[in-house]
């Protein structure tokens, strides 16, 4: 059997634990995954409006434990403590991710004016760079962005005069002596508090948020508009892009994703449902309706069909860490663009081209509208995106090798190497291959994340979160 590890630089091994909900409800479906800037924290948002933050434990010398593959529900994980099993050998164990904090970020709301329900599903989470002991993140649903502060508390004051130990007020008349309260250590408590709520600025559904490199502003994008916010000001925002036509009957294009340049705080890009990317410079004008650069690949006439426009709709756009390239994901491909070349991408990778002949069926069951995300690795040399049947794909830009991996419980024995998968397109199906007809289209990997500097990836498969680490040798 061919050993892909020889070709791809990374060998991913499943972790000891796969974090999941045992009783899978709709609310547990993970809707976003994001590492923070150091990779120490990993945040997930779900359809029920909850945010779960995982923290990487310090690398320690530990007693090797027989791994327990499956944890209980996410809620139970809070109280879960790793069972101390029989100790075996002392090994140097690299940091695993454990639950650090869980909180309810958004609640379902009802818009009385339009008689419409506003979903609490977390569409995106973006971390702010750490500036003090606390962590800050932005989380958003369809309408409202919130800034959350996650901080640790390991001391508490004791010895109040006016309150007793349980917090009940004491009658001042009973106090005969005074004492100075002191701070005493306590069990570590992680608390999340909402610091800012940025509401009522979007008529349409927010699909993206992006923190600017100045760390003072951020943008939120919905289907037709992009707003610029200052973190300190919640009752105002600047509208910087507006593509709403005067007559809504003329609407043919919407904004699908937006992101700030990683280094230039005046530059951002946004993608559209027609497969185009616009780069805008905020110095040019207050309203960036006129783009500075326009990226579009000419259509291939031989591939033209009724579904051409739908599959060209870009579902995600990401700047490379270097800021030199942008990556876009449409239904069948991932493309890498050089900012200096607008007329075509410099690289195109086929994610699951075998679906090209199935587009009608995928249109009928709405799968063709699935929005897959894409991510860069820390060095911008490998890109990753998800597919169906819990498959996800990695493309090495240098060697041009690619691999298909599967995030599944059955295939992920701890400490084993993830086996590459292959989809058989037609003709004879080899032993380990899967035929296109057998793919499970309800198991889609839309959200993935890559650690900023190491080869650790987080893959969200419906309600399960898989964290794979590359353990070389």
């Amino acid at each position: 059997m061919k050993c892909f590890s020889r070709y791809l630089p990374y060998i991913f091994r499943p972790p000891n634990t796969i974090l999941s909900s045992s009783c899978h409800t709709e609310a547990d479906i993970i809707s976003t995954v994001e590492f923070n800037h150091t990779g120490e924290l990993l945040a997930t948002g779900d359809k029920g409006g909850r945010v779960v933050i995982f923290q990487r434990e310090q690398e320690v010398l530990v007693e090797e434990q027989t791994p327990d593959v499956v944890l209980g529900s996410i809620l139970r994980v809070l109280k879960f403590s790793l069972p101390s099993l029989q100790s075996k050998n002392q090994v140097h164990r690299r940091g695993e991710y454990n639950v650090y904090s869980t909180f309810q970020s958004h609640e379902p709301e009802f818009d009385y004016l339009k008689s419409l329900e506003i979903e609490e599903k977390i569409n995106k989470i973006r971390w702010l760079p750490q500036q003090n002991a606390a962590y800050f993140l932005l989380s958003t649903n369809d309408k409202t962005v919130k800034l959350w502060k996650v901080s640790e508390r390991d001391k508490r004051p004791e010895g109040y005069n006016l309150k007793d130990e349980e917090g009940r007020l004491r009658d001042p008349a009973t106090i005969t002596t005074l004492r100075v309260p002191v701070l005493r250590p306590m069990d570590l408590m992680v608390e999340a508090t909402p610091r800012r709520v940025f509401a009522n600025a979007h008529t349409y559904h927010i699909n993206s948020i992006s923190v600017n490199s100045d760390y003072e502003t951020y943008m939120s994008a919905d289907d037709l508009r992009i707003n610029l916010w200052n973190f300190e000001i919640t009752n105002q925002s600047f509208n910087i892009v507006d593509i709403k036509p005067a007559n809504m009957e003329e609407l043919t294009e919407v904004i699908t994703a937006a992101e700030f340049h990683p280094h230039h705080c005046n530059t951002f890009v946004y993608s559209s449902s027609k497969g185009t990317i616009r780069l805008c410079d905020m110095r040019a004008s207050a309203l960036c309706d006129r783009h500075t650069k326009f990226f579009e690949e000419p259509e291939d006439p031989s591939n033209r069909s009724f579904f051409s426009e739908i599959i060209s709709s870009i579902s995600d756009v990401k700047f490379s860490h270097s800021g030199r390239y942008i990556m876009t994901r449409d239904y069948l491909t991932v493309k890498v663009w050089d900012l200096n070349m607008e007329n075509r991408p410099i690289e195109t990778y086929q994610v699951h081209d075998y679906l090209r002949s199935k587009l009608c069926s995928l249109y009928e069951n709405d799968c063709i509208f699935d929005k897959f995300e894409c991510v860069w690795n820390g060095s911008d040399s490998v890109i990753m995106t998800g597919s169906y049947n819990n498959f996800f794909r990695m493309f090495d830009r240098n060697t041009k090798r690619d691999v298909t991996l599967e995030a599944s419980r059955e295939n992920s024995k701890p400490r084993a190497i993830l086996k590459p998968r292959k989809v058989c397109v037609g003709g004879k199906r080899r032993k380990d291959e899967i035929s296109v007809d057998s793919l499970d289209f309800s198991k889609k990997i839309l959200h993935t994340a890559w650690h900023p500097s190491e080869n650790i990836i987080a893959v969200a498969a419906t309600n399960n979160l898989y964290i794979f680490q590359d353990k070389v040798n």
Binding site: E117, S305, R356, C360, D437
Partner: protein, 237 residues
């Protein structure tokens, strides 16, 4: 959704095929796609907060189909023939073309089509009594200001489609599905292939099926008028 483990061979198509198990004509498929898209638009119109991106993409597809049909001169040239059979044919073909080969096992997907998406949407259609908004249905898709207002016009057109579904002769429908197996693959091949307007080579056509009427004209007159009206509004012709 997709049949699992079923081996399909291209050669199997040739035997025992009468009428409905081979690739339907391009025009019929195009019409079915149009119908499917309109139903989707209507369904998403019914959702609490319609996904704007999806609606825009579907509407653009509808517009594209309509433009092509206009170019081909079939849009306004549809003559009503076989009034009773025709709407069934059109809607049934959507079923043939986009369902899996479960029909080959003896199941009849039609009941699912009726009882599934379309019927469900029928029951979900709001009982909009009077609402006849001045704005076109298209704007009502995008504007979420008054979602109730313009459902009337779409409601009416789909109503006709649902009525004809109920009135159809069940026997004829079963006959239609007796030998359907891999036709949905072929639809995909055709529709995602060239849009040249010439019949694709695979298409031996549902010749028996459409023999009674040329494919683009297989519509019921009243149904067509409604649909025509709807799509005209959509594309502002």
């Amino acid at each position: 959704m997709f049949a699992r483990g079923l081996k399909r061979k291209y050669g199997d198509q040739e035997e025992g095929v009468e009428g409905f198990s081979t690739v339907p004509s391009y025009s019929l498929q195009r019409q079915s796609l149009l119908d499917m898209s309109l139903v989707k638009l209507q369904l998403c119109h019914m959702l609490v907060e319609p996904n704007l991106c999806r609606s825009v993409l579907i509407a653009n597809t509808v517009r594209q189909i309509q433009e092509e049909m206009s170019r081909d001169g079939v849009w306004h040239g549809m003559a009503p023939q076989n009034a009773e059979r025709a709407p069934i044919d059109r809607l049934v073909s959507t079923e043939i073309l986009c369902r899996t080969a479960r029909a080959a096992d003896g199941e009849h997907p039609t009941p699912e089509l009726e009882d599934g998406s379309l019927q469900i949407s029928a029951s979900e259609l709001p009982i909009v009594s009077s609402a006849q908004g001045q704005r076109s249905p298209q704007s009502s898709l995008w504007e979420m200001d008054s979602p109730q207002e313009n459902r009337g016009s779409f409601h009416k057109s789909l109503d006709h489609i649902f009525e004809t579904l109920e009135n159809k002769n069940p026997n004829s429908v079963e006959d239609l599905f007796s030998d359907v197996d891999s036709s949905y693959y072929d639809l995909d091949t055709v529709l995602t292939g060239m849009m040249s307007g010439t019949k694709p080579s695979l298409c031996s056509g549902l010749d028996g099926f459409t023999a009674a009427a040329p494919p683009p004209s297989s519509t019921c007159k009243s149904d067509l008028t409604e649909l025509d009206h709807v799509v005209e509004i959509l594309v502002e012709t």
